[in-house]
Amino acid sequence: MTTVAGAGAAIPAGHPRAGWWGTQRNRQLALIACFLLPSLVVFVLYRVLPLGWNVVLSFQAWSPLKPAQWIGLENYVEMWSYDDVFWVALRNTLIFIAASPLAIAAALGIALLVNSDLKGATVYRTIVFLSYPLMAVAVGIIWRWMYDERGGIINYALRASGLVDRPIGFLQDFDWALPSVIFAEIWQVLGFYMIILLTGLQSIPQNLYEAARIDGAPAWARFFRITVPMLRPSLFLCIVVGILNSFSSFDLVYIMTNGGPGHATELLITHIYKSAFVETKFDYAAALTVVQFSLLVVLTIAANRAAGGNAGAVERD
């Protein structure tokens, strides 16, 4: 403080910067700003700018080499009143997202199990995580084969065990395709949820449990009064990631079904990608992107509310 005051004195009085820099709080603010800066740079360059680009593009008619011209809401009108694929993709995307809580619940269960002094917890943990780092393309190929109607191991097992008499074309059947893709997606992402939740569990001070135990709170009570509230940030994170997966698992869907059969597994992201890079409708794809973005924002806000606001932060003193 004193040194700073001195510095402040050295500079002609009333110099705004000196005055601003003078207070402890402002220096704190400057510091916080510096802390945020690197990340902000990355996100502004690779997230915010592209979003802006998409927003602008969504009101234009453009393709590489074609000068952009403003066409107002045409792209959106097209989407709303003519593109029936959009509505299918929207529905599928929502189903896709709705499935993630199940995965998270499963992951929580596993995390709790492997977070103890259980023998071989490390092994289990590793096994569950194993699938996450696998390249999505490889995962897609493998599951496409597992689901295969003739050579697929799943049908093979189902029939060997006499559960079904006719093989199921999981990825070819209009009703099975989406659930099958979702299951494969969960298979891959389970390990991710698990370590996020593990990280959360790790940071719960044990003394809370001890205290609770001394008060004679039963296990379930400790779970709901301590574990769940303390896990709020991690759970929130998992839910957000669950929402993200509706597009971050693009590769998987693209490899497994490419949105088919018909449009049974068409997600907004596959529709966006195909519109842009297969049909070269970049302008229309931009409109789709904006819509998907808004949708996900709404969902995230809802999740945030559910997690008690502040990204599920736990306020304690």
Binding site: P64, K66, V278, F282
Partner: protein
Amino acid sequence: MVTRRTLLKTAAAAAATSVFPTPAIGQASKKITFLTWNIIDQKELIEGWIKRFQAARPGVEVEWLDKKGPDFGPFYQTQLTAGTPPDVINTQGALGLEYAAQGALLDLTPLLAREAAIKSRFDANYLGNWIYEGHNYMLPFYITKTLLFYNKPMFAKAGLTGPPTSFDEILSHAQKMTSGEASTGFMTLNFDWLYWPLFAMNGVQLVTPDLKKTAFNTPKAVEVLDKLAKATQANAINKISWTGRWVEPNGAFGAGNVGMLHAHSPAYFFFKGQGSWVTPETLGVAHMPGFYATPNSHGLGISKGSKNPELAWDFLKFVTDNGQAGELAERRKLVTGNIAVDKASLAKLEKEDPTVYAVLKTQLEHTDKMTGNWRFGNDSRVKEAFWPEVQSALLGRKDAKSALADAERRMSRELARA
């Protein structure tokens, strides 16, 4: 003064090039980029070409890039937007036409007019696959169209003497060879309109000759689609026909329990690699009834944004001339659309590898009967509007009538937008 300014300029330029490792931008030496479509297996060959090309032209540099189909679009479109498109590109199917319509490709018509010798190199019908609104945009690199492969032992077992000669015979043959799940009768590839001969041989037209209006929603088309759907439900047509892409159908045919496969010539090498049963005695090769076939050829074009279009054209001529094309034909065992080359290599193959010969021969026959190769500038959009609906019908999700109605509605919209 002047000297100093120029000096500064060059210095700045040098600095720029060193700071910006961006290729093809602001480079002194004459450089072109050759972007191929999924032919990385011929690394040795293409690098050899480039060496020779450069040797003959001092100060010229050729950069070679290869992308797999799904990655090609994103890469090329991005490069277009950035103003650094690869000079010479190799695309598959109708994509070249779309890029042409997009204004990405150089119109080769004047160049071909200038050098008749080049134009006469190629099979006119194949060359014609890349004519968009009357202009040539691409030259054949290597060419394929669909044909009918069939499993002779399965034919014999079903008491069938020869390949089908009509649409209904395809279905009846298929039915005869079908027994539950153990074996299915017929299978086709479905991407890029490859299944279209099935409709063409029934006289179904997709669009009016001017490509402006849909023409497929007819009672006949409904009947055909319905027959195909029923045959699929009965397992006579393998479901993979409508759901698989490349690996599944060819893999299944290679597994030896599918009677017929309608696919283009590269399929042969794939299922041969998969199926030990494939020998000259067991594999039958024929044309589809009515000699209809859908091409899926590889073309070479020049990006309009090329900094050295003349050099690019030079390279195009170099790659497609007898020497280079000959090597490609020999190594990849394919036909190039270069008449002289194909003649020679087929003559050679006739002795060395009768099956390959039989397969490739079909590629040069009845080239006037090619179908499913409409010169759309928005082919993929039309496809996206048409195929999913038809697929729904084929897999029994929708009835043929309403599927075609929906397809018509969506396709008409795309055609109108174009």
